[in-house]
């Protein structure tokens, strides 16, 4: 079915499914089939922030003073985050917009993707601050085999779905000859790939991102790279919202509150979705080994991070109504919670536990002679 930027057929968006119904025509939000997406948009808009608001001036000094293996951990983690947001800044739009059928969901996809571009811009802000030549960091994202390996797995489902949608858009449902090969375009195969792609996006944002957040916050737990942690705290707040979005899409499909055909498709995808989670957890544990290959840092090592991978994977599986697949029950990084609290309340910097704000306010270099003028 060819995509139309303004579908001229009069339709009732309250009766359309989330995807693969009619293309959206009028962008209206006075009525919604799934009001949750409108709420997510409002929340996301209320979260708006700009990377430049965060002062990173002490981070450079902290970075210079770090041991070599810690710099490797910090930069590799940042490269991984840059890769993930490079993907997320464009892919929800490219993959899902051509097949979305609800105005509120269409706008949520755009709002979601836009917020990811703010994240991407914030990595440039951070990298510019800590290294003299940002290209050394950015270029390595496509050169470093460990990162390239990650890129392949986080984009696989997206890329196949986009390819299948292109064929659907150009040729429609049926059997076609493409480059001398027979290709069958079917709506049920497309819907199946859609479900799996959204599941893999949920894994990207709800598991992979959180593992990287743990590394960012571990530095700040030692009162270094606090500006970076402040940026990541804002990113984490957005990501919590995004993962709620993909969880909703998957749950609406599986529970029969959307396209009735999706119930059976979701059921048939169950094992594969669990496998996507298991594979991602395995890769994240491997990544933890790479991060800490030259040495651990205070408060975090490959083993604890791997335990966190298992813990967060279980939490996310529960969010989708699936059984847990790992033994771990309690959070091995309880201090993460303090960083993930993202209350709407704006905390004044002097009240927050960000010690960089206090640097210069207190002179901690005291000697006995400083008390000479004191009389009791």
């Amino acid at each position: 079915m060819a995509y139309s930027t303004f579908n001229k057929v009069k339709n009732d968006p309250l009766k359309e499914p989330m995807f693969f119904g009619q293309n959206v025509n009028v962008a209206r939000y006075d009525q919604q089939r799934h009001a949750i997406f409108e709420k997510l948009i409002e929340k996301q808009l209320s979260f708006f922030w700009r990377p430049e608001e965060v002062d990173l001036s002490t981070d450079r000094k902290d970075f210079m003073a770090m041991a070599e293996h810690e710099r490797h951990i910090f930069l590799s983690n940042l490269k991984y985050q840059t890769l993930l947001d490079s993907v997320q800044g464009r892919s929800p739009n490219i993959a899902f917009l051509p097949v979305v059928s609800l105005p509120e969901l269409e706008t949520w996809l755009e709002t979601w993707s836009f917020s990811e571009t703010v994240h991407s811009r914030s990595y440039t802000h951070i990298i510019r601050n800590v290294v003299d030549d940002p290209s050394i960091v950015f270029d390595d994202i496509v050169d470093n085999p460990e990162i390239v390996k990650r890129a392949e797995t986080v984009t696989r489902y997206y890329d196949l779905f986009i390819e299948m949608c292109s064929q659907y858009s150009l040729l429609g449902v049926g059997t076609h000859q493409i480059n001398g090969e027979e290709v069958i375009v079917s709506l049920s195969a497309l819907k199946r790939q859609l479900y799996l792609t959204i599941a893999s996006v949920n894994v990207l944002e709800a598991v992979r991102f959180y593992v990287s957040f743990a590394c960012s916050f571990a530095f700040a737990e030692r009162a270094i790279m606090e500006g970076n942690a402040k940026v990541i705290k804002l990113i984490a707040r957005d990501e919590a919202l995004h993962l709620a979005g993909t969880q909703h899409m998957l749950n609406l499909m599986a529970n029969g509150h959307d396209d009735p055909e999706m119930v059976a498709i979701a059921e048939s995808c169950k094992d594969e979705v669990i496998e996507i989670f298991r594979e991602a957890a395995e890769q994240e544990r491997e990544w933890a080994k790479y991060l800490f290959k030259d040495g651990s840092m205070i408060g975090l090592n490959a083993e604890i991070l791997s335990d966190y991978v298992d813990y967060i994977t279980n939490v996310r599986l529960r969010g989708l109504g699936f059984e847990e697949i790992f033994k771990i029950r309690s959070n091995p990084l309880p201090w993460m919670n303090a960083w993930l609290v993202s209350d709407n309340v704006q905390v004044a910097p002097q009240e927050a536990e960000i010690s960089s704000y206090l640097v210069g306010a207190i002179d901690s270099n005291m000697e006995d002679a400083d008390f000479d003028d004191f009389d009791l």
Binding site: R237, L241, V341
Partner: protein
């Protein structure tokens, strides 16, 4: 003249612990006030970590939940009790 009595809401958790809700912003705040361990992240109704089962009684929502909830599930960061309630964590 009879003095009007303020209705206090008793919150019972897993049938073993109970406390009186004291007009805090949310059940989560009240649980923290009474030092009852509770898992949470966002306090804004979208991370879903403070999800519990409401086994009896009624609650009022003070902010919207943005996560999928099954029948009988509530987010303690988004609700206050309306009379006495029981929760299962």
């Amino acid at each position: 003249m009879p003095v009007p009595q303020l209705m206090s809401s008793t919150v019972t958790i897993n049938e073993v612990q109970s406390f009186s809700y004291g007009e805090e912003f949310s059940l989560l705040d009240s649980m923290e006030e009474h030092q009852i361990p509770v898992t949470y992240n966002c306090r804004g109704g979208y991370c879903g970590l403070c999800k519990v089962k409401l086994t009896s009684g009624k609650v009022n929502w003070v902010q919207d939940s943005l996560v999928t909830l099954e029948a009988g599930e509530i987010l303690v960061c988004c609700c206050v009790p309306d009379g006495s309630i029981s929760l299962a964590t």
